[in-house]
Symmetry: C2
Subunit: 364 residues, 2 copies
């Protein structure tokens, strides 16, 4: 018997954004980038969970614009598993819709929600935690994965945890869950340092897992208009996502994140502290945490780095040669090159804005 | 009557080198680069002297490999004005051969020798000095142009000058010449500073002008084997530069620079101190002396520089976007990108060597 028989995976692959410009473009967001291998981030996300879940139980939530690309990346995932949002409505609606889709197929279904543009270095560790989280979820908890901080990161939200959840200390659960005292916003540096010292804070990874009946009940309680929308959509059956009636239902749903709309309000959430080399890869700079050469450079593509240390050196078009540079980000793509210090990568959006102002839209 | 009726120009366009890698390649040396305009450096050199000299009196010395490219750049220069070296023999041989070619056409000929890969910002000033230098040369002197130093440059040879040459103080000579006490090698920084303070040193620009009979006599005196070669070549008439007999004559000529072989040994040389915004553009860094935007960046091609100062930003292939960088050199070409601090550009040859070692010859 398959111990994961009720497990479904939901890849959140609708995100936009140009923080990885010039590699990411308006029609080519981060989840479609190849940063760590010849596989895109969304493919790596798929590869990571695939040992636990067959294609028939992998769902992909995305936008109308990105759906064709994702369908061609994943020809083995059934078409009906693509949850296509005709308008962007943040994370709560697509997760609730996915929960309902799964619930119709398997009333005991469990859904693991996986952002499709994150990095995990220790895949075995990830699967181990996920297996335990599934066990906790099967007992009716919404289980979040909280990453044990390795440095005072200001780019993540944090979770303050409480006591062990003793009643969930199942003998098979190698990783015990803890109660959640609070979700806290991205801190400033001093606060992040205090969180690190306190030892009771975890990074909010955005990875969580729940039984569909539990999630649908939370949505009904905390976001009743969304619960109505989910039912209305189900009533439309197989209507095309670009049809007027489907568009109307999605347009009427509240645009809200699952964190804000459900998680932070709900009772009975738990967190499992985890350490599997995770990053949300929020900016080019994040790649400095994953050096690939002996000089602590993150290197991708054809790169010749002489006397260069702790840089992010990425080329998808020809040779990138560097000499005597440190703590820089250099990205070479066909048609556009970016050069900036690693500690300025959060300002790449300034560049993108400036290109918009100059109407140089061919680079956006 | 044309006051420059006996003036010929010799463009030295046979140089090799990869200090401007990745823009310069083995088969695409510096004189063929576009650094300051949509014209190559050799075309800018031609444009600069052209007001004084018609095409019929412009000669081009170059290699077999580069000749076809140069002939197509200068279709109006007669084919017989191209002095093509089948083997590289430094500057003395091609200058002596050119002097003899001119001497056969005009026994009163005067030759201005112009390196083809330098930069001049004040073209009117250059022509003014050149006109005066021609006057001095017509009286039988070999006249060098010495650039008044603007900073303690360690990349140039210097000329220590002596007294005014009173007998050449012709009323039309707005710029008086001085005797030369010594040619001195590239100095270290402390020495360069002392030269600047002393006020009696000029940069050796490599620009000089002479009457053909004077130069040929100096060659006969100081480099008799070269003088023999020049005569042997003349005896071969219009034989093709790649023919065995021409190759043999060139191969037998001494490989020596005109500075070392003639200038530093000859009597009767003078120097005219000049200031016309000159640079030999020895490395990418040299371009920082010629900023083109309000933030002291040297910018060429499609560049977006946000919060970036005092950089060399060159793109011949797509958009180069920079954010928060200072004193860097970034060069974007189709197929290869270079990033290094401005004060490391003299080490670009290290990169080129490393590419050779790795057998990545497609980038050389």
């Amino acid at each position: 018997m398959d111990e994961h028989a009720h497990l479904f995976a939901l890849l959140l692959a609708g995100g936009k954004g140009t923080r990885f410009w010039p590699l990411s473009r308006e029609d080519h967001p981060k989840q479609l980038l190849k940063l760590f291998s010849e596989r895109t981030l969304v493919e790596e996300t798929y590869d990571r969970i695939r040992p636990l879940v067959p294609n028939e139980r992998i769902l992909v939530a995305t936008s109308l614009g990105l759906a064709p690309r994702l369908m061609s990346l994943f020809p083995d995932i059934p078409r009906e598993n693509f949850i296509i949002e005709p308008v962007a409505r943040n994370t709560a609606p697509c997760i609730a819709v996915a929960a309902n889709v799964v619930h119709q197929r398997d009333p005991d279904g469990i859904v693991a929600v996986l952002p499709s543009d994150h990095f995990v270095s220790d895949v075995a560790g990830f699967l181990d935690i996920m297996t335990c989280a599934e066990l906790h979820a099967s007992r009716g908890k919404i289980v979040t994965l909280g990453i044990t901080p390795t440095h005072p990161e200001t780019g993540y939200g944090y979770i303050r945890f409480g006591e062990f959840e003793e009643d969930l200390a199942h003998p098979e659960a190698r990783h015990r869950s803890r109660s959640i005292q609070a979700f806290v916003e991205k801190p400033d540096h001093a606060t992040a340092v205090s969180y690190l010292k306190a030892g009771r804070y975890l990074w909010n990874s955005g990875l969580f897992i729940f039984r569909t009946d539990v999630m649908l009940e939370k949505v009904r309680t905390h976001l009743p208009s969304l619960a109505d929308g989910v039912e209305a959509l189900a009533a439309l059956g197989t209507a095309a996502p670009e049809s007027d009636e489907v568009l109307k239902v999605w347009s009427d749903m509240p645009s809200i994140s699952v964190d804000y709309g459900v998680m932070e309000k709900a009772e009975g959430l738990v967190v499992i502290p985890a350490s599997f080399g995770w990053s949300d890869v929020g900016t080019w700079r994040a790649l400095t945490a994953f050096p690939t050469d002996e000089n602590e450079n993150f290197v991708f593509g054809r790169v010749l780095a002489v006397d260069s240390q702790q840089n992010v050196l990425y080329s998808s078009a020809g040779l990138l040669a560097t000499l005597g540079i440190q703590n820089m980000v250099v990205v070479v793509t066909r048609g556009a090159v970016l050069v900036c210090p690693a500690d300025r990568t959060q300002d790449v959006k300034q560049l993108v804005e400036e290109l918009k102002n100059r109407n140089q839209t061919e680079y956006l």
